[in-house]
């Protein structure tokens, strides 16, 4: 019996050998691209588009995996404790990775632990009301809210998310109170609004573009007018000093060597600059960004200061 088991163990060992590769230059085996959310979302679709180009540049298979939970925190805390070998890249979202550690006590990771590789996309966040709503401008919206404190219901995705932050900032700046109704995810928040259960919606630009025929965008959080929604004024041009958006990029474990980060940076840069991919993304309502590792890192630091100040003013931390 024991002999049998030993033979089996040896046979098992050979299965391992089949999967191993000799130690050569990075990358020499498949790279995992982890999405911190459920499949079918925006991060997912973008990753699927990037995959073929990444595989071409890196020369290895890129497998897309999903590790949802706690609004992304499960995936981010896993990579924060992971090995810096560059074989796992995780999608990172701003402002999530900034807000969660600030607000959650122990989110399982800190913003600094996610080593930035590349930031390739922004979706500005916009405020919308129903097509047949009597409100036609942001000023009318604020006026209604002033006259009826807490009556205005705004649907959004997540607590302490980019949407929530935008609502809080708007409240703070105008001295009004809304009722923010968070849903667990962009799709349910849009459904809540489309079904008439809330009066307004804070949503990502691609959702606003998808359902453009059924809503009026009162304001958009990009610094300049957003081409797919040309009639939507920006918060800035209306006199409100705020921008709102969700940025998407990729990060790796904290102790990943710079050479590996550079290799990944090159791959994502190639993917982002690919003309076909770029036009498809923009057609769906995303804004392309091309921030490499260093730029992304600086952006994170600046954003973190900004958000920390805002959250303190709002009394959230």
């Amino acid at each position: 019996m024991i002999k049998l088991v030993l033979i089996m163990l040896a046979a098992a060992g050979s299965l391992f050998a089949a999967g191993q590769a000799e130690p050569t230059a990075y990358p020499n085996r498949p790279v995992a691209y982890v999405i911190p959310f459920d499949p079918g979302g925006q991060s997912d679709v973008t990753a699927l588009y990037q995959k073929p180009i990444l595989e071409r540049v890196l020369g290895v298979t890129v497998t897309i995996r999903h590790q949802p939970g706690a609004g992304g925190a499960v995936a981010w805390s896993t990579i924060a404790r992971g090995r810096g070998d560059g074989y796992t890249v995780v999608g990172s979202n701003v402002p999530h990775i900034i807000i969660q550690p600030l607000v959650r006590g122990d989110a399982g990771y800190t913003t600094e632990q996610l080593k930035p590789v590349y930031l390739f996309q922004t979706t500005p966040i916009g405020l919308a009301v129903a097509k047949d709503s009597p409100i036609n401008s942001l000023d009318e919206f604020i006026a209604f809210a002033r006259a009826n404190p807490e009556r205005m219901t705004i649907s959004g995705s997540g607590t302490h998310s980019g949407h929530h932050l935008a609502v809080l900032q708007l409240q703070h700046m105008t001295g009004t109170t809304f009722t923010y109704i968070p849903a667990t995810g962009a799709a349910p928040s849009v459904t809540n609004f489309l079904g008439g259960h809330t009066m307004a919606l804070m949503a990502n630009s691609d959702d606003l573009v998808t359902h453009a025929a059924e809503l009026k965008v009162l304001a958009i959080g990009s610094p300049e007018r957003f081409p797919p929604l040309p009639n939507a004024p920006t918060f800035l041009e209306l006199g409100y000093r705020m921008t709102a958006g969700i940025d998407r990029g990729v990060s790796v474990a904290p102790d990943t060597p710079d050479a590996i980060v550079a290799a990944l940076e090159r791959a994502f840069d190639a993917a982002t600059r690919d003309p076909e991919l770029r036009s498809t993304m923009e057609g769906l309502g995303f804004v392309t960004r091309t921030m490499g590792s260093r730029e992304y890192g600086e952006y994170l630091r600046a954003k973190k200061q900004e958000i920390e100040t805002v959250l303190r003013e709002l009394g959230e931390i």
């Binding site: 079918g40 995959k51 995996r65 706690a70 499960v74 896993t78 219901t153 109704i181 968070p182």
Partner: protein, 502 residues
């Protein structure tokens, strides 16, 4: 629309399409049968491969996998009491007792016929009533989700026929477990015992495996007296005809279950799992002889399977017309559509009509394909299992459970969850607390809590919390259904308590 359908039928029956349907259905059944691998995961795994295909072919493949996987969950539900996908939970209630009595093949045939009929009825809704149904699904807001969850909880009564109190305790435990993690509103970190992985809550699919599979395997091992047989197997000829006849004699069973399945599928966020459970509950309520459920009634299996396969086209209805997925696998298909640059909505049925209708036609074929492939695979798997003794079967099942729980998110914590939950379930079973109610609590908890809290916020904003819960038409309908369900349960319990004079 009719020319679209006809051209679609032509495309769908091309050799390549048929091959894709066949492969998709078989692959889907296998994945669905393996505990831990869900339909969502199967579709998500294959979406990258479809990138280089023509859109219609990619969708045909994914749709076939979806159909096959939801059906495939019934195999492990029947044979090892483990729902292969969450949509097969209700199939375990009567499917496994049937297997224990040696009638596993009869259960599989029932599941097959029911799935085919349910799926086809669902596709009919998709073809003819998609836009109005999708619009109606939007009317489901937070208060409706809350009442739906409450209605779902009344299923506890159907699942614990002799001991409702224990069922209630189990349900409450499940509801409390569902609160572990980050609160949906306000984002408080709750009951995580300082563990980071618990911040995401207790993983559902590994828990399902733990609850249903582990205690059964442990029992299997220690009850294997001197005979090293696992599941007695009675061969019977003409099983297909007999089952079909039995089901045809009660047409309302399948029709009602398919209706429930389609409707539940349409509701965004409620998918195959809830569809199967509600249909099972309604089957029990509609039946004069309620005592036979839970002990091996093929009606229970038929109801659950017809509903869950009907939820497939159901979930696709709002996804294709509005871009709002009715269930997680539909969300992945939505991503697949976006991948090909196709945006769901009115455009899908006009500009991209060839693709949309080609996909729908393929769904019809996929459901029909369940019959030959399902029976073949089902019989093959049963036969293989018959050949194995308990000594081999038990560890294999445990290994597959570990693999399945891990593979879902490549997370070791999920494996631990599965084993931990399994052992707890084993102990709870020892004191009469069954898995069904606990799992119901875990699944419905988040829906109930979010519905409750979001509705309270809505109510506060509108000035009347009571109003938001009790004055909306769909909510009222659900409240009536809940009350009816509770009344039936009380009446049944009363009858059971009054001693019968023989």
């Amino acid at each position: 629309m009719v020319e679209h359908l006809l051209t679609a039928l032509a495309t769908a029956t091309s050799p390549l399409s048929l091959l894709l349907v066949a492969c998709g259905v078989c692959a889907g059944i296998v994945v669905g049968a393996l505990p831990g691998l869900t339909a969502t995961m199967a579709i998500a795994l294959l979406v990258p491969f479809t990138f280089s295909m023509q859109p219609v072919h990619g969708l045909v493949l994914l749709g076939s996998i979806y159909t096959g996987a939801i059906y495939g969950g019934s195999f492990s539900a029947i044979l090892i009491n483990t729902p292969g996908t969450p949509s097969a939970i209700a199939t375990t209630f009567d499917g496994f007792p049937l297997a224990r009595k040696g009638e596993s093949y009869r259960a599989i045939v029932t599941a097959t016929v029911a799935s085919v009929v349910g799926g086809l009825i669902g596709v009919l809704f998709l073809i003819f009533l998609a836009p109005p149904l999708a619009r109606a699904s939007l009317r489901f807001g937070p208060p409706e989700y809350f009442w739906l969850a409450i209605f779902g909880l009344t299923i506890i009564a159907a699942v614990s026929p002799r001991n409702t109190l224990k069922g209630l305790i189990g349900g409450a435990i499940g509801l409390l477990v569902s609160t572990i993690g980050i609160a949906p509103i306000e984002g408080a970190v709750r009951y995580t015992f300082r563990s980071i992985s618990l911040q995401g809550g207790v993983a559902l699919v590994p828990s399902l495996i733990g609850f249903f599979c582990i205690p059964e395997v442990l029992r299997m091992v220690y009850e294997s007296g001197s005979v090293a047989q696992v599941l007695p197997y009675k061969r019977q000829r003409n099983m297909l005809q007999r089952v079909t006849l039995a089901l045809v004699r009660k047409p309302w069973l399948l029709i009602r279950s398919a209706l429930i399945g389609t409707l539940v599928g349409i509701i965004p966020g409620a998918g195959g799992n809830i569809a199967g459970l509600v249909a099972y509950n309604e089957a029990v309520r509609a039946d004069k002889n309620k005592g036979k459920y839970g002990k091996g009634a093929i009606e229970g299996v038929a109801a659950s399977e017809a509903a869950n396969n009907a939820s497939v086209p159901g979930a696709l209805i709002p996804m294709m017309t509005l871009g709002v997925p009715g269930a997680p696998p539909a969300a992945v298909l939505f991503g697949a559509l976006l991948l090909h640059g196709i945006r769901p909505g009115a455009e899908l049925f006009t500009v991209y009509g060839r693709i949309a209708y080609g996909f729908i036609a393929a769904l019809v074929l996929a459901n029909i394909a369940l019959l030959p492939f399902g029976l073949l695979l089902g019989r093959a798997i049963s036969r293989i299992m018959m050949r194995l003794r308990v000594q081999a079967l038990a560890p294999i099942i445990i290994f597959l459970s570990m693999v399945g729980s891990y593979a879902l998110a490549n997370n070791l914590a999920d494996l631990y969850t599965m084993v931990g939950v399994g052992l707890v379930a084993y102990l709870l079973r020892g004191v009469g607390l069954a898995a069904g109610p606990i799992v119901l609590g875990m699944i419905l908890g988040p829906m109930a809590e979010q519905g409750l809290l979001q509705s309270i916020l809505m109510g506060r904003a509108a000035g009347s919390i009571v109003g938001v819960f009790f004055t909306r038409p769909i909510s009222l309908l659900l409240i009536i259904l809940t009350v009816l369900s509770v009344l039936t349960a009380i009446v049944v319990e009363r009858k059971a308590l009054i001693p019968r004079t023989e």
